[in-house]
Structure formats: C-alpha cells, structure tokens
C-alpha cells in the first residue's frame, strides 16, 4: 500500500465516526415521560393523534383564530374547546417544563411559541397585552 501513513489514519478516522453515537450515548437512557394531567382523562383529540399531530392542530387553531376569528373548536365527540394555546392546552397541561419540554428536549425541537405566548393562563400580564376578551386572554 502506498502513502499508508496518510491513508490508514484517514480510514480509521472515517470508521470511528460510525462509533461516535455508540460511545456518546453510553450511560444515557432514552426515556420520555411527560407528566400527564391527573384530573383529566381525555385530550382534545385521541392521544395517539395528539402525540403525532399536535403541532398541526395548533397551526390550524392559530390560523383559524387569527385570520378567520373562528375561536371555537369542536372535536369528533362534539366537545367544544376554545382555540387557544395558553388558555386551552396549558389549562390541562399547566407545567410546560414537565410536559411539552420533556418530549421536545428528547427529540430536539424548540418551538418558538413561548417568545410571545404566556406559559400559564393565570399569569398577570398577558402578552399580547389585551384584556381577556370573550374568547379569553392569551
């Protein structure tokens, strides 16, 4: 073999890359345990659907509420919910760090919603600063 002093380290480095995850992950367990609400039984949609599609639901709610002013969502069972991130989701899932973040951190998503939206409905200064309207604050 020619130029072995360059090629052998090169190949070894390349092959070692494949083992980076094996070594990096050692001692870390992958588990996802969001804290589910204790006093409630059902989410807005069936649980598996919520798990995979909650961002699409939030997107629909956002667009419909802000663009069309339609603020009431009726699910397949006929239950009514106000289309609101803070007031609806966070009233049943009050602790973002123990619910949303526990999932999001494990898969590396960081939704930017909280730049503006309040974390919990009873926070003093709602952002955007509008007094609670018919459909509630934000």
């Amino acid at each position: 073999m020619y130029n072995a002093k360059y090629i052998i380290p090169g190949i070894l480095f390349f092959l070692a890359l494949a083992f980076v995850p094996v070594i990096y992950n050692q001692g870390h367990v992958f588990e996802v345990k969001p804290e589910l609400p204790k006093d409630q039984k059902e989410c807005v949609l069936p649980t598996t659907e919520m798990r995979d599609k909650h961002m699409q639901l939030l997107n629909e709610w956002r667009n419909e509420a802000v663009r069309d002013g339609s603020r009431i969502f009726i699910n397949a069972k006929g239950q009514k919910y106000v289309k609101s991130l803070t007031n609806t989701c966070m009233s049943c899932h009050p602790d973002k760090t123990k619910f949303c973040d526990r999932c999001h951190e494990t898969v590396g998503v960081a939704p930017y919603c909280w730049d503006c939206h309040n974390l919990s409905p009873n926070q003093k200064s709602p952002i955007p600063p509008v007094a609670s309207a018919a459909a509630g604050g934000h």
């Binding site: 073999m1 020619y2 130029n3 072995a4 090629i7 090169g10 190949i11 390349f14 092959l15 494949a18 995850p21 094996v22 990096y24 992950n25 050692q26 870390h28 992958f30 996802v32 598996t48 798990r51 995979d52 599609k53 961002m55 699409q56 939030l58 997107n59 956002r62 999932c103 951190e105 494990t106 898969v107 590396g108 998503v109 960081a110 930017y112």
Partner: protein
C-alpha cells in the same frame, strides 16, 4: 429506458418494506437491514480505498489550472498548480469545500454563424451540485437528533438556522426544499440535455432517484403523515446503543420505506460512483504536487533488479560502434 428502470428499482425499494412491514417483518427492515447496511458500507468502503491505495501511480499526472512555478518574476498560482504538500492541501480543501474544478465547467456549442465550435462558461452544474451537497450535509447533521442523547447544541443551531423562516408548523426546513431543487436540476440535466443523456447510464440515474426517494419519503413523514418521532428515536437509539429492540408504539410504514432507501444507499455506496467521496482524496490528478520538472518521479512498479542505465554508461558500451557509424559522441575514445 435506463431512467425508467432506475425509477422502478427505487419504487420497489419503497413498496417492498411497505408491504413487508404490513406482513409483520418490521424487525427485518427496522433492525437487521440497518446493521447489514452499515457493515457492508464500512467494509466495502475500506476495501475500495485500500484497493486504490495499492495501485501504483506510474507518472506524475496532476491536472493544473494555473501558471506553474518557474522563474521568480513569473507570477504563479500556488493553489491551482501546487509544488508542495502545503499547496496540495489548500487545493484539496478548496476542491472539497467549494468544488473549484466544477466551477471551471464549460459547455460546447456549434455557433450559428458557420461551422464554428464555441465554448462558454457553464456554472449551473457547479451551483446546483453545491446546493445539493451542502443541503445533504445539513440534513445529516440535523438527523443526529435521532442518534444522540442528549442532543448537542450544534444540532440545535443547525435546526434553528435551517427553519429560520418559520413557515408553518412543523416548521419547514429550507434545506428540504433546496435539496429537491438541487436533485431535480441534476436529474433534468441528464434527461433534457441530449449530449448528457447520451452518456448517462443506469448507474447515473439510480443514485439520483434513490436520493429523491429518500428526500420525498422524509418530507412525506414530516409534513404529511406526521410519524411518531419519539417511537422512531426509540428504535434508532436502540440500534446505535447496540441493544436493538422494536418500540412498543407503532411506527408508520413510511419510516421503514425511508430507512430501507437509506440502507440501499449505504449498501450501494461502495460499489458505485458515489465513492467519489473517498476517491477524491486518492485521485493522482488532484493530490499530486506538480513536481515533474523539479524532482524525478520513480515509477513504483519498476523492477528493482533493472538498474538505471545512464547515457554516459550507454556511450561507454557502444562508443566504438557509434564512432564507426558516424554518430556524435560526448567523449572521444
């Protein structure tokens, strides 16, 4: 026809896992195939490199794109026409990161006024292949979120920048759109340019369709069906920590299609033109310094038993005969 067959092959690679998982073979496509693929990739890749490294380079054959180093008052191009290791290093860095040799691509056309051949600059190949390769890299870096726990900050930064336009939810990654643009251009170039189509074979179409298939299934999973990403990560983490098991939550068949296409890519890689990834570092035309006028290039396959025979020695052997025949000699008698 070649394009059609390649397309069918990629289609089969989507349909087979899709049906197979429906028949309960998810462990085969989710666990066995990835391990097989990575082993074939690593062994095959190493063997190709070793094979190239064993091949002697009989001549000093760098291709050069600039003035050679010669007299001190002639300006030379140290990176296009390197004479030492430092120059070659810079040349390779620029080649790998900026695709400089593709930048020099030209197109040949017969001029309208008379039978004259005209060459013009043709940068689109360079631009779109650069777009494709960088998007591919970015997607691979972003995919590390499936393979590492905790997720390194750099992956988060890549995600943030790639989704900075904040279009829709889940946020759209710009690289997803751009890689499609890149791949579709590279495909269109082969399909619509008659001269390129003429020299395009199945092994040129297949990787393009394969990559398009990977991107399309990925886009499908993220923006359309919304697969259970946490279950997928459970599977990928079990694979990379070498404790494979299937997650309890069901995974959409499109994940297996995506994974099978990726495995097909990895298996195919060492045996295909995609080996240019490693081959670029072993191309004599790229990695040799242009030394042919400064140092003797010894052909490594010369038989060591055959000693060099200088002209002086040759003349010593044949002096009388040369003088008899009237040939000029350096040393008389």
């Amino acid at each position: 026809m070649a394009a059609f067959y390649s397309f069918l092959a990629v289609l089969a690679l989507i349909v087979i896992p899709w049906l197979g998982v429906g028949m309960g073979m998810s462990a085969l496509f989710g666990i066995a195939l990835p391990y097989i693929a990575i082993i074939i990739f690593m062994v095959g890749f190493t063997m190709r490199i070793v094979d190239w490294a064993k091949s002697p380079v009989p001549f000093c054959i760098p291709t050069t794109g600039g003035q050679q180093k010669s007299l001190p008052w002639i300006k030379w191009s140290p990176w296009d026409n390197p004479v030492d290791k430092k120059g070659v290093f810079m040349r390779m860095v620029l080649e790998v990161l900026c695709f400089r040799s593709l930048f020099r691509n030209t197109s040949v056309k017969l001029q309208q006024d008379g039978p004259k051949v005209g060459y013009s600059s043709e940068k689109s190949l360079w631009l779109f292949s650069l777009i494709f390769h960088y998007c591919f890299l970015l997607i691979l870096v972003r995919h590390l979120r499936f393979f590492l726990m905790p997720i390194p900050g750099a992956v988060g930064i890549a995600e943030f920048l790639d989704s900075i336009l904040q279009i829709g939810l889940p946020v759209m990654y710009q690289s997803d759109a751009l890689i499609m643009v890149g791949l579709l251009f590279l495909l269109a170039r082969r399909v619509f340019d008659g001269k390129v189509r003429y020299i395009t074979l199945m092994q040129d179409y297949f990787p393009l369709f394969l990559l398009l298939g990977i991107v399309l299934t990925g886009v499908w999973m993220r923006y359309v069906v919304k697969v259970d990403v946490i279950a997928v990560k459970e599977l990928t983490m079990s694979i990379v920590t070498l404790r494979p098991h299937m997650p309890t939550a069901p995974i959409d068949p499109s994940v297996y299609a995506h994974l099978t296409l990726v495995c097909a890519l990895f298996i195919y890689f060492p045996f295909s033109k995609l080996m240019h990834m490693g081959g670029i570092f072993l191309s004599p035309t790229r990695v040799l310094p242009n030394m042919s006028r400064r140092a003797q290039w010894v052909n490594p396959w010369n038989d060591p038993a055959v000693k060099a025979h200088s002209y002086e020695a040759y003349e010593d052997d044949f002096r009388e005969k040369m003088i008899e025949a009237g040939l000029p000699v350096d040393k008389k008698a």
